[in-house]
């Protein structure tokens, strides 16, 4: 998904002169060990290029760099002219913002004491028998963040409490008493907030105090505390929101950056690979192994497949048909229901190739597909590579000797200790002195 997006946003040069795969001055260092240094290699479309070298020459490292398992220390790998890194687009931006907002809301909830907020907004309405509507919620929210005094009820008695319900300022038997007291006290607190020397506004007092009641008052330090409370809740809330937002967004971007050239994005762009030691899913059947390669072709997520939508069912049937096709190409059609772990080495290699083919990749990396096989099994694999080429995919194949691969390769390159020492047609490589020395182990 990401890779496709990257393709759209990157500029595309004219298709004719860019090779399908362009390995450009790639070096890979592991600490002080240089596995590959300054490698240049092109794989044109519909061609077979083989990379030859003795064990430890860096062939597998090249495969890993191309398939995204490791990122090259320097240099670049381009496929269709793209680096296959995901670009920072609006999708990533909005994802970061969304996750940031979520984290921000969580930290803000903790900062403003969500427990007390719940008490003030949800529970107090129940006590006072108010309806639970958008308006009442908004009013109560505002009152909480302004630190206004409120009325609460406990054991049949009405209490004047602070917004968070922690401080009980007065208890009255009568509701009307409690309300008028609350209004008086609120006026006093508001006046205190306006400034230490200010006298409560006359109009404020007028609607608050009923003449028959004695003036309610609170000690100065309590008034100060209540007056300061408002600012504290607000500042804490905003600080929590902003801090959480920044942290969440930054963390999302950091994690996204690490996975920018991830193997799955590379695979989705159209590069499939096999491994030197076949890596199958040993507990699945042969057919299921190939179906994993076809995963992307089946539409629908968890909900669609639970409901068994038509699109999903059809995709699944189509995938099974194509999986069978891929299996018959490699000659495993009779073993579809066997457990993959029970296959022979040659069978495992073929299955891995079938699985890679099934992804519909335009470039297939085969890492030493002939290692450890008998002579006739090697021939079969070579024939298979020829068939892959005929089907229109390019192949980059590694091996440790010129011979079997020369039969189907369009070009060959030879690596020695991470350095490319020769490149050319199979015939040229067969005549190259140094190449003969390395691959046969006999100095000439």
């Amino acid at each position: 998904m990401g890779a496709r997006r990257a393709m759209r946003t990157r500029p595309v040069a004219s298709a004719a002169d860019i090779p399908l795969l362009d390995i450009d001055r790639v070096s890979m260092r592991f600490g002080s060990l240089v596995a590959v240094s300054d490698l240049d290699l092109d794989v044109p479309e519909r061609q077979v290029v083989s990379l030859i070298g003795p064990d430890g020459a860096g062939k597998t490292t090249v495969c890993n760099c191309v398939s995204g398992i490791c990122s090259p220390t320097s240099g670049s790998v381009r496929f269709h002219g793209h680096r296959l890194t995901q670009t920072f687009g609006p999708r990533v931006f909005w994802m970061a913002m969304g996750i940031g907002l979520l984290v921000g809301l969580l930290t803000a909830a903790a900062a403003v004491d969500v427990d007390r907020l719940w008490l003030a907004v949800v529970k107090r309405g129940m006590v006072l028998d108010e309806p639970f509507t958008f308006d009442t919620v908004r009013r109560r929210l505002r009152s909480y963040f302004r630190g206004e005094l409120a009325i609460d009820q406990l054991a049949g008695k009405w209490r004047v409490v602070t917004a968070d319900g922690r401080d009980v300022l007065a208890i009255r038997r009568d509701y009307a008493d409690a309300v008028s007291l609350r209004n008086q006290l609120q006026a006093a607190v508001t006046a205190r907030r306006a400034g230490p020397g200010t006298i409560p506004d006359a109009s404020d007092m007028a609607d608050a105090a009923s003449p028959s009641q004695p003036q309610a008052s609170l000690p100065d330090e309590v008034l100060d505390r209540l007056a300061a409370g408002k600012a504290r809740v607000r500042i804490r809330g905003w600080a929590g929101l902003v801090a959480g937002w920044v942290l969440g967004a930054a963390g999302t971007i950091a994690i996204w950056k690490r996975g920018r050239r991830s193997p799955h994005a590379v695979a989705r762009a159209g590069i499939a690979r096999t491994f030197q030691q076949p890596r199958l899913f040993p507990e699945m059947t042969v057919l299921e192994n190939v179906l994993v390669g076809l995963d992307r072709t089946i539409p629908g997520g968890a909900i669609a497949l639970l409901l068994g939508t038509r699109g999903h069912r059809r995709g699944e049937e189509e995938a099974r048909r194509r999986a069978q096709e891929a299996l018959s190409l490699v000659g495993l059609e009779g073993d579809a229901e066997r457990i993959a772990g029970g296959l022979s080495l040659a069978g495992r290699r073929r299955l891995e190739i079938a699985r890679a083919l099934a992804t519909g990749a335009t470039l297939i990396l085969l890492d030493e597909p002939t290692a450890g096989l008998e002579a006739e099994e090697v021939d079969a694999v070579i024939d298979l590579i020829g068939q892959i080429k005929q089907r229109g995919s390019a192949v980059l194949v590694t091996g440790d000797s010129i011979d079997p691969l020369a039969r189907i390769s369009d070009r060959m390159a030879v690596l020695e200790q991470g350095v490319k020492i020769a490149e050319g047609s199979p015939a040229e490589m067969k005549r190259h002195r140094r190449v003969i020395e390395i691959t046969t182990g006999v100095p000439s």
Binding site: F132, A272, E283, M284, D295, L305
Partner: protein, 353 residues
């Protein structure tokens, strides 16, 4: 005869469902305390199937499943109890609860994706404890140690053909029995479907070889997140049923590490990644605990007479020892579980015992 047996063993779930569905008609005890115990058993089965998505299918060790169970129970309670103004129907509340809990699972999954094995186990364990303590401390929202109650029975206020459903649930535990059984059947059906779908294959692929799956274009991130969310959603469904059955969320300690471990043990005992195995594991561990032991104890009491009250004579005080012994024996002789999944059976068969 052989053909009939084959048919039965292939359609074990249909047979079991039919038997359990008619059981209350023939076993009157299911209308009493036993019915409540069996309902709890069903709920544990659902919870274990949810955990199985993480541990069995995707191979992620999860020690905090009880937290999702708890979140599910509390959300449904918050939305239905008379203490709060929401008071929506149980079905709608359950839907919201499942969605919310799946979201929480998703949110937990995000930051811990890179972790595997023991590191993930520790994070999920800590998450479970955090949720428990949070539930305890948010006293206004969750009622603290008192929990939230009374959770009205499902269908409260709904009248079908002259019967008040809420009243029916409150009077006859068989309603809960059938509700939990229907939910369990639905979850088993969904799990079977998932197992053999692209999602199930992707879970298994990530479990068996993550780099190989990535090389085929499977995003381990998405696959693991979906496992987290799915597991949380199923656990939440169990939580919704639990709160409805008890008509309270109970206190937060009901959702602690012990419950997570009990369910995990059941999954491992029965067979990781195997639906019948998981159900059998729960039936043995939880059923042994809640159904068999009380029954056996009352029998022992009768036989030995009221005079002898030695704790050595009560099975309840031996239960942990029996648990431990059973687990050791199973792990020694059937390491893939009592009913191993096809995939795990293949692996153990290949590796030799």
């Amino acid at each position: 005869m052989a053909a009939a047996w084959k048919w039965i063993s292939q359609r074990w779930e249909v047979v079991a469902l039919a038997l359990l569905a008619v059981a209350p008609l023939f076993v009157p005890a299911l209308g009493g305390a036993l019915g409540g115990q069996v309902t709890t058993l069903f709920i544990y089965c659902i919870l274990a199937l949810g955990l199985n998505v993480m541990v069995g299918y995707t191979g992620l060790l999860h020690l905090g499943i009880a937290a999702f169970f708890g979140i599910g129970a509390y959300v449904v309670a918050i939305l239905t109890v008379p203490l709060f103004p929401f008071q929506i129907g149980w079905l709608a509340a359950a839907a919201v609860s499942i969605a919310v809990t799946a979201g929480v699972g998703f949110a937990l999954g995000g930051p811990v994706l890179k972790l595997r094995g023991d590191a993930l186990a520790i994070v999920t364990l800590a998450f479970g404890e955090v949720v428990k303590v949070t539930l305890r401390n948010l006293e206004q929202v969750t009622g603290g140690m008192k929990g939230l109650n009374p959770v009205p029975p499902p269908g409260a206020g709904v009248t079908v053909a002259g019967t008040d459903l809420g009243l029916a649930f409150a009077v006859d535990p068989r309603w809960f029995y059938y509700l939990a059984l229907a939910a369990l059947a639905g979850v088993v059906w969904a799990m079977r479907r998932l197992e053999n779908s692209r999602l199930g294959r992707a879970w298994a692929a990530v479990r068996e070889d993550e780099p190989a799956a990535a090389a085929l274009g499977i995003s381990a991130t998405q696959v693991k997140l979906s496992a987290f969310a799915m597991s949380a959603a199923v656990a939440a469904l169990a939580g919704c049923l639990y709160a409805a059955t008890l008509s309270t969320t109970a206190d937060p300690n009901a959702y602690d590490f012990n419950r997570s471990i009990l369910v995990l043990c059941a999954v491992i005992l029965g067979g990781l990644g195997s639906i019948p195995g998981t159900l059998l594991g729960v039936a043995i561990l939880v059923g042994f605990d809640t159904v068999l032991i009380p029954a056996a104890d009352s029998l022992i009491q009768q036989l030995s007479g009221a005079a002898d009250r030695s704790s050595l004579l009560s099975l309840a005080s031996w239960r942990l020892a029996i648990f431990g012994l059973a687990l050791v024996l199973v792990m020694r002789y059937r390491p893939a579980g009592l009913i191993p999944s096809r995939r795990l059976a293949a692996e153990w068969g290949r590796g030799g015992r």
